[in-house]
Every structure is written in C-alpha cells, then in structure tokens.
C-alpha cells in the first residue's frame, strides 16, 4: 500500500470552500450526468443505426426511409447532449477538482481536439440530413453514405476521450506513467468501459425509437413500407438483444475495475441494479411475444424499469469513484491543511514583524538596477552616462522616470516608473548621481 502511495502525487487543493453542500453536488452530478449521457447515447447509437439502415436501404428502399427518419432525431439529440453536458461538467469540476483537471491536462491534446472534432461531426450530420433528398443516386448516394459513415466514426471516437479522462481521474497512482492521450488508454479499463457504453447507446436508441416512431401520433407518411407494430417490434428487438449482451459486458467492466474502489457496497448496488435489469429484460422479452395489437402497451413500464436500472448503475459508479479516491482525497486534504496552517503562521509572524516604514535608497534603486549598471550599458545607459547628463539635476531624472521619452534609437523604450512615487524617485535619483560619479572617478 505504502509503495503504491509513494508514487501518487498529492497536490494542494484550492483554498476555497464548495459553493453548495457536497450532497447536493453529488445528487446533481449523478442526475445531470444521466440526462446528459442519455442524449449522448441517442446521438451515438442513432448515427450508427442510420449508417447500417441506409446501407440496407440500397436493396430495399423502406430501410432508407427509416434511416432518414432516424437522422432527423440525431440533430436534435446532439444539441441536447452538448447543452446538458455542461451541468455535470460543472459538478465534476467542483467535486473532483484536483483529479479531473489533472486528467484533462495529461490528455491535453485530445481534450482540446474535442472542440473541432465535435464541430465536424455535427456539421457532417447536418450535411447528411439535409442532402438526403438530393444526393440520391449513383456516386452522390455513395458520397451521402460516406458522409454518414464519417459522422458515425467521429461519434464513435469522441467518447473515448471522455472515457479516458473519467478512467484516469480515478487512478492518480498511475498518472506518472501517462505520456499523452494514447498511453492513457492503456491504463485502467478504458476498453470495457467503452464497450459497455456503446452497447448502452444501441439499447437506449432502440428503446427510444420504439417509443418515438411507434407512438400513436407519429407521422407515417414517409414510412409506408412499415406498420407501427412492426417498427415497435424491430426496435424492441434491438434493445432486448443488446441488453442481453450487457450481461457479459457489464461484468467485464466490473471485474476489470482497479480494485482500489471495490467495496461490498459497490457490489450490492451493482448487483441489485443487475437483478432489476434481469427483470426489465424479462418484461421486454414478454412484450416481444405479444401480438401486433398489444405490443407496446408495456412501454412506459419498461422505460421506468430501465430508468431505475440506470439510476442504480449511476449511483454504483459514484460510490465506486468515492471509494477509489477516498485515500487520495484525505491525503490532499491533509496536505492542504498543513500548507495553509504553515502559511497562516508565517503571515502572522510576518505581520508581527516591525514594518520597515521606508525603503532605503539602495533598496529602491533595485527597481532600476536591472537595466542601469554603473559602467556598462545593460538595457539602458550606464550610470556614468546618466550622471553626466543630469549632473546636479536630480529632478530631471525624476521627471524622466515618471514619463520616459525615446532618445536612443538603438535602445528599447524605458517603462514609466511613476508608481514608485515622486519622493522615492527623488531618493533614487540622488543615489544614481552619486553612484554614477563614483563609477566615473574609478
């Protein structure tokens, strides 16, 4: 344990209290994050489905029409995904200031790339959506498909950047090994996280589309190749099969987590969530067996069950994070307190020291010494030269230093020194003349 901790950087925290109670922040983080990730799921899953269905549409036009309908939802979901992401970002910044920003910096290039990558992906989705009816044949259709594929590939890549950060922030003991974004991928369990997330994206998109396209009032004028029950069944099936796969991917994620945060509590929460997930799956498969007339009647029950499962997983994730970082957080707190106690003591002693009412001319002259040396030209002319120009005229020096002019073309501009005050400048000027004369006499 100690050997491990020795390699863990323990920074000092910012000396400001949290603006709201911690429990409130935790609550906001868990809830806002789930809302955010839901829209991200729909955006990512939707764009993958669109690519596949458009490709199927080459053989049978009805898939093309379905893909087009889904493409309309992506552009809305993507905007919500972005705007709903800001809240959880605020919360995580506050709760895990030291770990989160550090992970960002260690993967800095990729972190910055989020901005242009997401912009490109969004522009491509718009292009894909708004050229659907005009790029319809031959090479143009291929170009259209390529646009969709490019957008989907970007959407498949961008989550990796976030996952790398979420993963890295949990393992400060490994930070020293990280040299750039790609090396951060090999630490912890980024890949299982990624698979779990991608599967969730497909499942959630299936569930969403079963409800959205299958809803009573939905407009079927562009979807004449399908019936409503058919669509419901199709998207339910996607949701059910992928969710089944989560029973492999989920444990894979759980058992590859770094052990530091695994507690009984985490297991209890996650396994309760998983059993609820089994129940959900059972209801879902039951729904699939229904005849056309009643398929979809359990939709809201399934949504509710899924929400509970997701909430459970989200809480489990938070409990794990807290446990994984507990030691690091305590160390940071101790170090911060130690530092600020020492600082307060120092400042108290400092304030108690008799204040030097006035600075001596020698001290004041330090403000000029960086540029004016006795004999040599540093930045400005040497003191000998100044003493020559201003012999017997210290006020001239004061006037100059308050608002320096531009005399010597080969030298830079001298900065104004007016903030030192007239009285101080006068002392400096007198000393300057003495020093200059002395240097010249040598």
């Amino acid at each position: 344990m100690n050997a491990l901790l020795a390699a863990t950087p323990v920074p000092r925290d910012l000396p400001l209290p949290l603006p709201v109670p911690e429990w409130l922040l935790v609550f906001c983080l868990v809830v806002f994050f789930l809302v955010h990730i839901l829209f991200v799921n729909l955006m990512v899953g939707g764009s993958v489905l669109v690519v596949v269905l458009e490709w199927l549409g080459l053989k049978n036009k009805r898939w093309d029409a379905l893909a087009h309908e889904i493409a309309q939802t992506i552009t809305v979901n993507k905007s919500l995904a972005v705007v709903m992401g800001i809240g959880p970002l605020l919360c995580i910044n506050l709760l895990y200031t030291m770990q989160w920003y550090s992970a960002n910096a260690l993967t800095g290039h990729a972190w910055l790339l989020i901005v242009p990558l997401v912009i490109t992906a969004f522009l491509l989705t718009y292009l894909h959506k708004y050229t659907w009816d005009s790029w319809t044949t031959g090479g143009r259709k291929t170009l259209h498909q390529l646009t969709g594929i490019a957008a989907a590939l970007l959407f498949l890549f961008i989550p990796l950047i976030f996952l790398a950060n979420v993963n890295l922030m949990l393992i400060p003991s490994e930070w020293e090994k990280v040299k750039g974004f790609f090396s951060a991928l090999s630490i912890g369990n980024v890949l299982p996280r990624y698979l779990h997330f991608m599967a969730a994206s497909l499942a959630m998109t299936g569930l969403f589309l079963a409800g959205w396209l299958g809803r009573q009032g939905s407009d079927f004028s562009h979807l004449d190749g399908f019936t409503r029950p058919e669509l419901r069944r199709f998207f339910y099936t996607i949701c059910a099969r992928v969710t089944l796969a989560q029973f492999v991917l989920g444990p894979l994620l759980l058992f590859t987590l770094p052990s530091a945060g695994i507690t009984t509590q985490v297991y209890v929460i996650i396994f309760s969530g998983a059993s609820l997930g089994l129940l959900t799956l059972w209801v879902l498969f039951g729904e699939l067996k229904r005849p056309d007339a009643t398929i979809g009647s359990r939709y809201w029950l399934i949504v509710l069950l899924f929400s509970l499962v997701v909430l459970g997983m989200g809480s489990g994730r938070h409990v794990y994070r807290e446990a994984a970082l507990a030691a690091h957080k305590t160390q940071i707190k101790e170090r911060t307190e130690r530092y600020y106690t020492a600082l307060a003591e120092f400042n108290k002693a400092h304030a108690a020291m008799p204040q030097v009412a006035e600075q001596s001319p020698e001290q004041l002259f330090m403000n000029c010494a960086a540029c004016h040396a006795p004999n040599v030209k540093l930045v400005g002319p040497p003191l000998t030269e100044i003493a020559q120009i201003y012999a017997g005229n210290p006020d001239g020096i004061v006037a100059w230093a308050k608002a320096p002019g531009k005399k010597r073309p080969e030298l830079p501009q001298m900065p104004p020194m007016i903030h030192l005050g007239e009285a101080n400048l006068r002392k400096i000027a007198e000393l300057m003349l003495i020093k200059g004369a002395a240097a010249a006499a040598k």
Partner: protein, 484 residues
C-alpha cells in the same frame, strides 16, 4: 499551480488557443444569435402582419444558416472556452467556479432554454401554417431573442465580476458584478453592436436568396430592396447606440483602471490602446454610416463585397474592445486574489521566503543545488512564467530578454536576476516573482542555457509528469527530504 502543466510552446503556452476559441465564439454569438434572433423574429412578424410569404421565406432561409452555425460552431466554441481554460488555467477556472457558481448555474439554465428554443423555433417554422399557429410561433422567436440576450448579460456580469478586485473578497456577492461601473456601458455596447452586425449579416445573406431571375420577374429585386431599406435603418440606429455606449465605455476605462489597481497601470501600451480605440470607434462607425446611407438612398449602389468592409472593421473593433479586459486583468486572473500564474496574493511572501519548488507538487526537485540548477530553473519557469510566456515560441522569454539586452552580446546574469525579482515593479502587468533568490538564479541559468541551445519545452500532455515526493510531517527541510 498545483496541476500538471498543460503547455504548448509554439502557441504562447496555449493562451492563444483560448483566445482563438473565445474570439470565434463572440464573433458568432453577437451577430448571429443575440443580434439576429430579434431581427429575424421581427421579419417573421412583419410578413405575417402584411401577408408577405416571400419575406417569411427569406427569414426562414436566413434562420437556417443561423441555426446551423449557432448549434455547431457557436455552441461548441462556448463549451470550448470552458474546456481550454480547464487545461490552461485550472487553478483559475476552478476557483472562479467555486466563487461564481450560481452565476454559471443560471447561465447554464438560460443556455438550455436558448438551445431548446432555437430548435423549436426553426424546426416548427414550416408547420405553423394557420394564423393561430403562426402567432404562437412568433412568440417562440421573441422568447428566444430574450433568452439569448440574457445569456450575454449574465456572462458579461460574470466576466466583469472577475475583474473587479477587492469587492468580492469582502462581500462575495454576485450583485456586485452589476454595480461594476463598466457593466452597463459594456452591455449596451455589445447589444447594439450585435444588432448592427446582425443587420449587415442579414443584408449580406439576403443577396444570395434574392437573385434576379431570368424571366424578367422583378419580385426578388423588390424583396432585396425591402430588406436593404429596413436593415439600413437598423444599422443607423444601432450604430448610434454603439457610438454612445462605446464612448461611455472609453471614458470609464481609465477611471476604473486607476481605481482598481494599487499601482498606476497606465502604461504606454494602455495609452496607445486608449488612443487607438477612439479612432477605431470613429472609423468603424463612419463606415457603417456610409453603408447604411447607401442602403437608404434610392440609387441601388451598395455592392455585396462592400458589406464586408464594415464587418471586418467591426471584428477588429470588437477584438480591441476585448483587449481592454486583458489590460485591466493583468497581472491578476482574479482581481487582488490570484495572479495569472495561479499564485495567491496572500501566499506570495511565504513562497518568496520558502521557495516555490518546496511547496509545489509537479516538480523534479524541491531545493536548488548546483547540480540540478537547470532542471529547477525549468520547473520554476513552468510555474512562474509559462502562463504568459513561452520558451522559444510566441511571446518567448528569449525574445523578451533579447529586446532588453540585445542579440549580439552576452546577457548579464546578475542584471537578469535583479530584473526578475523586481519584474512587477518594472512591468506592472507581470506578477511578482513567486520564489526565493536561489530559484530566481536557477531560472536565469535555465534561460541562459535556453539561449545557448534553444529547446522546445513540452507540457504534461506530451511529457507526462514527474514529481518528487513530499517529506512526511509538517517540518519539511532539505535534510529530511527523501531522495528518489
């Protein structure tokens, strides 16, 4: 700063990227969101009232462009400011977040409603086919215009607050931001600036949608005439606002600067900024007037490219405007509380006496010795200078010292050390050096070595981190420090 240092040598440490993203955001947000929404809503309303489907269609087409740009580049550059400052100045953004949490939270809520409203407005435009539905639709546009303006009003408050030193230290109340003497002129200036540039933008894009048809149909031409005439009015009126608020702002800035700073910050650079701002304001306003009058006159003379001139001047002017904030802020990131390099005002004396390396985290050594001098100097550079200077890239220390000591002679190390220790006195926009004498010497040694052998310095995003462990217990002396 106690975070791994993200740093890009060739881009002034990385500061340039924040600047780039932020400028792009403002350039999109002002004309295309804050300014354009109300004007487009007004066009929709006018078309509805006077039964002019051609104007409605034109408004819709321009809204399409606005929609695409604001929901992609506009929204993401907004988030990008956040992401890039998290990298470059986590100490600042982290502290600001703890202090101004509610401001940002409110900003987020307003931003959500703005995004929902723009999607709702644009995506339901074609579906509003009855007068009742149309009226409702126009109301969405009004709500959107209000929300986008509120977003700007809030963020200007947050920014103004950050610059206002002293006050929040005592009161820590958000309302103080609104009482900042620069708040009202700044908000007024931005509002009218947004309207003025939005009018020019709508005017410009309308040209693409009102092309003359070959069949001698003069309706597109009449539509173009209509829009140019109306937008010229908007330009003229908002230009008056820009001029008035700009002048008010220009008059307030020196007062605020004097009042805000313990030292007179009125440096030559600022004076020249101040002079330039005035003439730039004059010239920008003049070009907008000429264009607007051209639009008003019956002889149809203003060509499309001519509209680019005031737009470019507007951009330039806005950039200049934003620079004032930079001036007033330096050397602080949070007025009178934290310097640009993350050092707190009240820990300065402590660090100067104890040394900055001793209390840092991501450094190789904690005590300067003859052997590790260069490595220490590099760490000191990273901690104390790298948020404003690069080593060999833009705004590099090498260039700065070359300007002082010349390119062809050796630099005087003693002079450099003296300069660094007094740099806040010589150059009031720089923070005081936050380390002890040996660290200043190490820094100078590093810079001298850099001069002899210029080498790019890499940040934590490529090099990773290295750190020397902290000695156990409160007493940290060189003897008890374990060697790694």
């Amino acid at each position: 700063m106690d975070f791994p240092s993200f740093y890009m040598d060739h881009l002034a440490g990385g500061r340039l990227i924040i600047g780039l993203i932020a400028s792009l955001h403002v350039l999109i947000n002002h004309p295309l969101a804050v300014g354009a929404y109300p004007l487009l809503t007004w066009m929709e309303w006018w078309a509805h009232k006077n039964n002019r489907p051609d104007i409605d269609r034109l408004a819709y087409r321009i809204t399409f462009i606005v929609f695409i740009v604001t929901t992609t580049v506009g929204a993401l550059t907004g988030v990008g400011i956040w992401l890039s400052t998290s990298l470059f100045a986590p100490f600042a953004i982290g502290s600001l977040l703890r202090v101004f949490f509610w401001g940002w939270f409110a900003e987020w809520l307003v931003f959500i409603s703005e995004v929902v409203l723009i999607m709702w407005w644009f995506l339901t435009w074609k579906k509003a086919d009855t007068p009742e539905k149309k009226k409702k639709h126009i109301r969405i546009g009004v709500a959107l215009s209000i929300m986008s303006w509120l977003t700007m009003a809030l963020i200007v408050a947050v920014l103004g607050f950050m610059m206002k030193p002293g006050v929040w230290n005592q009161t820590r109340a958000f309302i103080d931001a609104m009482t900042n003497p620069l708040y009202a002129p700044q908000l007024g200036f931005r509002t009218f600036f947004a309207l003025m540039t939005a009018a020019v933008f709508i005017w410009f894009t309308a040209f693409f949608f009102t092309k003359k048809s070959s069949s001698g149909d003069d309706r597109p031409w009449r539509l173009r005439r209509w829009i140019v005439y109306r937008m010229s009015h908007v330009v003229l009126i908002s230009m008056l606002g820009v001029f008035l608020f700009g002048t008010w702002y220009w008059n307030c800035v020196p007062e605020t600067m004097k009042a805000n700073s313990s030292v007179a910050l009125l440096t030559q650079e600022f004076m020249s900024w101040h002079g330039q701002f005035q003439s730039l304001l004059g010239w920008t306003v003049a070009t907008f007037v000429v264009i607007a009058l051209g639009g008003l006159s019956d002889i149809f003379t203003v060509p499309r490219w001519a509209l680019l001139i005031p737009s470019v001047m507007g951009i330039w002017m806005l950039g200049h405007f934003e620079r004032a904030r930079e001036f007033m802020r330096k050397p602080w990131v949070i007025g009178e509380y934290m310097y640009s390099n993350g050092v707190h005002k009240d820990e300065l004396a402590y660090l100067q006496s104890e040394g900055i390396l001793k209390h840092a985290t991501y450094v190789k050594h904690r005590e300067v010795t003859e052997a590790n001098k260069l490595e220490c100097g590099q760490d000191v550079f990273m901690l104390a200078c790298s948020r404003c200077h690069s080593t060999t890239g833009l705004n590099s220390v090498l260039d700065k010292f070359t300007a002082m000591y010349g390119a062809d002679k050796p630099w005087d190390s003693v002079g450099m050390t003296l300069f660094i220790k007094g740099m806040h006195q010589t150059r009031t926009f720089m923070p005081p050096f936050p380390g002890n004498d040996r660290e200043a010497e190490a820094l100078v040694a590093y810079i001298q070595q850099l001069r002899a052998k210029p080498q790019t310095l890499h940040g934590a995003q490529t090099e990773g981190i290295s750190f020397s462990p902290l000695p156990k217990g409160p007493a940290m002396t060189a003897e008890t420090q374990p060697q790694r």
